[in-house]
């Protein structure tokens, strides 16, 4: 196996600015998503994900500008998501320079959006984000940032999204997100065992060993993390060293 497991930093963007307190002592403006993306590129990120968490619609245009300015300077795959509801939204993101677009709540509201988007733009650029939470002895899908129970089984949903033409799944454990307690490996195993498209593990990264476990034990193809990188706890290179020592092929 020579395909590398991917390490993907995620930036939450609100009206064009990075939130969740990214701290890099030597960055002049740690709130500038483009500057932070450049930093992660230089550190060896395999992709970068921008997630627009802007609540108001007038702040949304800022995301397109962030994607566009990043794509002028950073030559690795860029994924953008947050608030994507229509084919037009997807088209605008791709046109701005995103290589992939994540669809989350809109996929639950209207699964046909995923099949339409996949047919229209190609499966390779359609990532379905699934926010999953333990419920009733299984895993349920939640929307609206984990606040609303969609009443759908996460495993069945993952399989259905694959059938609809998703090229990849971004699977977040809402139970672990932000805890730093490690990924929900049971959730990961269940989903990666169910689908044959790549799965990005998200939610719970606290130490480099957590990212290795998501690959080795969870069966993930890529790991996404935010805080572990933003707060300067670990660099991407440090994480990759631990992964490599665990026998994982990394870039």
């Amino acid at each position: 196996m020579t395909l590398a497991s991917r390490v993907i930093p995620c930036l939450d963007v609100d009206a064009g600015r990075v939130v969740k307190g990214v701290r890099f002592v030597d960055l002049v403006d740690a709130g500038d998503p483009v500057a932070v993306a450049r930093r992660y590129d230089a550190e060896g990120a395999d992709e970068i994900v921008f997630l627009d968490i802007t609540a108001s619609s007038d702040g949304r245009g800022a995301m397109l500008d962030v994607v566009s300015r990043t794509a002028d300077q950073v030559f690795i795959p860029l994924t953008a998501g947050g608030g994507v509801r229509t084919l037009d939204d997807i088209h605008r993101m791709l046109d701005a320079g995103a290589d992939k677009v994540t669809i989350n709540t809109a996929a639950v509201d209207n699964p046909a959006l995923v099949s339409d988007a996949s047919r229209h733009f190609g499966a390779q650029c359609i990532v379905v984000a699934i926010d999953a939470k333990r419920a009733n002895g299984g895993f349920g899908v939640f929307t609206h940032g984990g606040r609303r129970d969609a009443g759908i089984d996460a495993l069945a949903w993952a399989a259905r999204m694959e059938d609809c033409g998703a090229g990849e799944l971004l699977l977040t454990s809402m139970d672990r997100d932000g805890t730093g307690d490690g990924f929900d490996l049971a959730l990961l195993r269940a989903v990666t065992g169910r689908v044959t498209i790549p799965v990005i593990a998200s939610g719970g990264a606290g130490r480099p060993a957590d990212l290795a476990a998501a690959i080795l034990e969870g069966g993930a193809d890529a790991v996404l993390a935010a805080g572990i990188f933003h707060f300067g706890k670990f660099t991407i290179a440090e994480v990759k060293t631990v992964m490599r020592e665990s026998g994982i092929e990394v870039m």
Binding site: M1, T2, A4, F75, I76, P77, G122, G167, P198
Partner: protein
């Protein structure tokens, strides 16, 4: 003739290719175009594409555009990217079967996901490219360097002398191919950081000869 034309067949992130070329080559402002006259005037031509090859070949069926692309392939430096590699073969299994340009010997098949080490389709991420023979576009790039791939179909090439790079994903497939003045890669140099940018820079300096 001058400049670079990036042929717009309606799929793929064409601006990424333009941005990477502009970033890497001082003074380069590539034209993203489907205008046969612009393609005809270009010193070099890029054929990028992502998604469905049926749609891509259908866009190329426009007579004027097809003549301009054929003319470029007949003599000027041409770089194919992703679908731009697959299309050089005679036939793709995609979409129930699509006849392609037939400039290279072989056909395009789908990854089946049958191999335990390559169960995931698409093949997505950074994989190694073994340079099977020297080429000016490999200049300054380490043999075995990783490039970014995203594709579900691959070229099963039949002629060894048309293969310039190989990659393992369950099976071994042709990740770089060409003949004479055209060269094509299955990966995305515009998304492959330093190695990819170097390949694009090499292309912009290439005269189309081996």
């Amino acid at each position: 003739m001058s400049g670079t034309a990036i042929v717009d067949l309606g799929t793929g992130n064409l601006r990424s290719v333009a941005r990477a070329l502009a970033h890497e080559v001082p003074g380069e402002t590539p034209a993203i175009t489907r205008d046969p006259a612009v393609i005809g005037r270009a010193a070099r031509v890029v054929l990028p594409g992502q998604g469905a090859i049926g749609t891509w070949m259908a866009a190329l069926a426009d007579a004027g555009l097809r003549r301009a692309v054929d003319a470029a392939l007949a003599g000027r430096p041409v770089l194919g990217i992703c679908l731009g590699l697959e299309a050089l073969y005679s036939f793709s299994d995609e979409d129930g079967g699509v006849p392609c340009l037939g400039l290279l010997a072989g056909r395009v098949r789908r990854f089946t996901g049958a191999d335990p080490g390559a169960r995931k389709v698409p093949h997505m991420g950074w994989n190694r490219v073994r340079q099977s023979r020297p080429h000016p576009l490999w200049r300054g790039i380490e043999d075995g360097a990783r490039f970014y791939f995203v594709h579900s179909y691959y070229a099963a090439a039949e002629r060894d002398d048309e293969i310039f790079g190989r990659t393992d994903y369950g099976l071994t497939f042709t990740s770089a191919a060409g003949r004479g003045n055209f060269f094509a890669v299955q990966f995305h140099p515009e998304k492959s950081r330093a190695a990819g940018l170097r390949l694009l820079r090499n292309f912009s300096a290439w005269d189309g000869a081996r």
